[in-house]
Symmetry: C2
Subunit: 98 residues, 2 copies
């Protein structure tokens, strides 16, 4: 295997570890958002907020040299998971005996 | 809107900006991997490497308190995009007149 490939893979592994830890921290935040929304009766999904997030991330991606369409797909995937989680939290909150 | 929600959303926006920049740097690395693979004639996909990456990330996710199944889905999504890019680079390299 070329030495250059070994070197690049070590960088990719470091970046992936950082990505996992950022995602873990992001889910800690959205978990709190889910509990808060369920407590005050806000719906799991907020299309206006999601549209703002997408527009901002497309812009950030473009500035960072990342394909904005790909950035949007990844964030859409993450947000879909978060909304599912919020729905589950809301169900558990409205049925505390469940 | 509750002040706590505003606070959490500001954290989520910061984390998302960091995620975008990490993803941009990851694609800079994989772009170089794609060129290197095409130059030395290695295939775009490397199932043994991908299996190692997945196992490592599941472990890291678990340690960080992130759902390992979700971490695996996100990484699988990113890797699929990378393999598509590698395939495109390989085609361009084998047909330099195209």
């Amino acid at each position: 295997m070329p030495a250059e490939l070994v070197r690049l893979r070590a960088s990719i592994d470091n970046l992936d570890a950082a990505l996992v830890h950022l995602l873990a921290e992001r889910f800690r935040c959205t978990q709190q958002v889910g509990v808060l929304k369920a407590t005050v009766g806000l719906p799991p999904s907020d299309p206006a907020r999601e549209e703002q997030q997408m527009a901002r991330l497309r812009q950030l991606a473009q500035e960072a040299g990342l394909d904005p369409v790909f950035a949007e797909k990844v964030l859409g995937f993450i947000i879909a998971e978060v909304i599912r989680n919020h729905g589950t939290i809301a169900e558990q909150t409205s049925r505390p005996d469940a």
